[in-house]
Structure formats: structure tokens, C-alpha cells
């Protein structure tokens, strides 16, 4: 590699005292065998792609699929909160209980008593379901502003 030698007065003036490029580069000392070892260092850092051809082999995927299925079944069965067979009421028992007249009557009476008690306690209490009350203190401007806000929420925020 030689120093650029185009006719440029400034360049020529500079060139002479500094020597050529090789001389300039020689001031950068490099560890011994650096360039001999560099390709190996780079090769060691290159990530080799994972070969996936083994996935096509039945010997791999049949046991893998079987193992996965069994694991999934066991996971669902032993997952906390999953009702176990011995703890659940059978479908037959459920049907019987619905059609058990005494049971149904008991539930009905129980619920009606609870409702009566609630009504007696809260007859004058405003539970917020009266539409007239909800919009009582809302002006038309409030509604317009609300609609504007709702509309603006869909706009994309400007990224700065």
C-alpha cells in the first residue's frame, strides 16, 4: 500500500516529511502472530446455524410428540383448581337435585327472603342505576368534550 501520489501541492508538501503509508502504519505495533490468528478468532465467533434435519426423522418426532401429549394430559389433570373426578358431583346427581322438589323450594324461599330483606333495607338508597340521575349534572359541553376525547384516543401518537 503506497501513499496517494496525485499531483496536489498541499498533498505533496505533506507527503515528504511523513514517509509512505507503510512507514506510517509501522508505528502501530501489532501483537505477534495477530494477523495469523485473526481468521481463527473470527471463525470462533461466527455462530453456526442449527441443523434442523434431525427434526424430519421419525425417530425424533414420534417419541417427542408422545411425550408432549402425555405431559399435557398430566398437566391438565394435576393443575391446581382442576376438579378431580372423585370431588365432582356426577351429572346424574345434578339432575336429581334440580328435580328434587324440596330442594328447589328451599332455594327459592331462601332467595326470596334475602331479596325481601334487601328491599326493606334499601328502599330509599340510590344505587346509581337511575339514568336521570346519571346525566343530571352533565352539560352539553361536557358531552361534546367527552366525545372529542373518545375520538382522539384512536389517533396514533407522534413519535419524536
Amino acid at each position: 500500500m503506497k501513499m496517494h501520489s496525485k499531483s496536489n501541492n498541499l498533498f505533496e508538501e505533506l507527503k515528504s516529511p511523513f514517509g509512505d503509508a507503510e512507514s506510517f502504519e509501522s508505528q502501530f505495533r501489532v501483537p505477534n502472530q495477530y494477523f495469523e490468528n485473526l481468521p481463527n478468532q473470527i471463525n470462533n465467533r461466527i455462530t453456526k446455524p442449527v441443523k434442523i434435519s434431525f427434526l424430519k426423522n421419525r425417530i425424533f418426532w414420534i417419541p417427542a410428540v408422545s411425550l408432549g401429549s402425555i405431559s399435557l394430559i398430566l398437566l391438565v389433570y394435576f393443575l391446581p383448581g382442576t376438579p378431580k373426578l372423585d370431588e365432582t358431583i356426577s351429572e346424574y346427581q345434578q339432575i336429581v337435585s334440580v328435580w328434587d322438589q324440596s330442594y328447589a323450594e328451599e332455594v327459592y324461599l331462601n332467595e326470596s327472603c334475602e331479596l325481601d330483606a334487601l328491599i326493606a333495607q334499601n328502599t330509599n338508597e340510590n344505587i346509581g342505576l337511575n339514568e336521570e340521575n346519571i346525566l343530571e349534572n352533565v352539560s352539553s359541553d361536557d358531552i361534546v368534550n367527552y366525545l372529542k376525547e373518545e375520538y382522539n384516543q384512536d389517533e396514533t401518537l407522534i413519535e419524536e
Binding site: M3, H4, L14, F24, E25, Q27, F28, R29, I42
Partner: protein, 182 residues
Amino acid sequence: MEHLSDHELLVMFRNEDQKHYAFNLIVAKYQHRIYYFVRRILISHEDTNDVVQNIFIKVWNNLENFREDSKFFTWLYRIASNESISFLKNRNLRTFFSLSSPEASMLNTIKEETYIDGKEIQQRLLQAILKLPKKQQLIFNMRYFDELSYEQISEILGTSVGALKASYHIAVKKIEHFVTAN
């Protein structure tokens, strides 16, 4: 095997069986030029070593997608320029709260670095180059040391030939002023 052209090396690289071999030939062919190109910017051997390895790993990862719209050599220099500049930017961020500026620490490295052993006049030239803005440094180095034409530098940096000539001219003036003043 250094006589193989870039195109021949790329053809070899695209052949899966010869990929690693072709890549090693590419590294062997360009490692000196790229190393010294980066070293003139970063000064420290350790930093240069990291960046040079990153450059060639980037080449390995992207060479399959290289369509030869530009010359391989130009593409390689563009990667080297980007990697060197981004390394400097990251280092500047890391040393933001440091007492000494990165430029000052590089100038110190010239004096203290174990691996630097040059004539005084050459060290002054190096100091003068380091005083230039980063892009001007690249332009000066490519033109002065690597003997690239303005057209090649234009392709690497995406700057017009006229702007490059002006930048190089100003860089030479600045260096001349620095060297004579010191």
C-alpha cells in the same frame, strides 16, 4: 489464493461447501487494510481488534444478501466506516461523565500506548488527524492512506465528489496548520 477476484470469492462463498473457506480467504485478503483503516481512527489495538472482528462477522452474516450492486470492496469499507463511527459514539456515551474527553484520551494513547512506536513527525500527523471531525478523518484516511478515488469514497460514504474534494482540501489545510504550528 489472494489473486482471486472479489467476484470469484463471492461465487465460492455462495457455494455451501466452500463457504467457510471463501470467507477465510476474504478475511485474509482484507484484514490488513481493514485493520489499519480502523486503527487509524481508534488508535488502540484492543478497540481495533474488537471492531475488526465485528466487521467481518457482519460480513459473514450479510454476504449472502449482497447483490453486487456496488463493489464488494466498497461495501466492506462502508461497514468498516459505520462500525468505527458507532464504536466511537458508544464510547463517547460511556465516557460522558468522565473527566477527560475521548479525544484527549486517544491523544494520550498515542503517547503511552505500548503498541505505538513511531517517528515524532508521524505522531504529530496522527494527532492532527484525530483533531479532524470524524467524517473528515474517514475521508482523509481513505484518500491519503488507502489511495481510494473520490468516486470510490463517494460510493462508500454517500457524499458527492465535489463535497469530498472540498472536505479533503480543508482537512489537508488543517493538518498542515497543526503540524507547522506544533
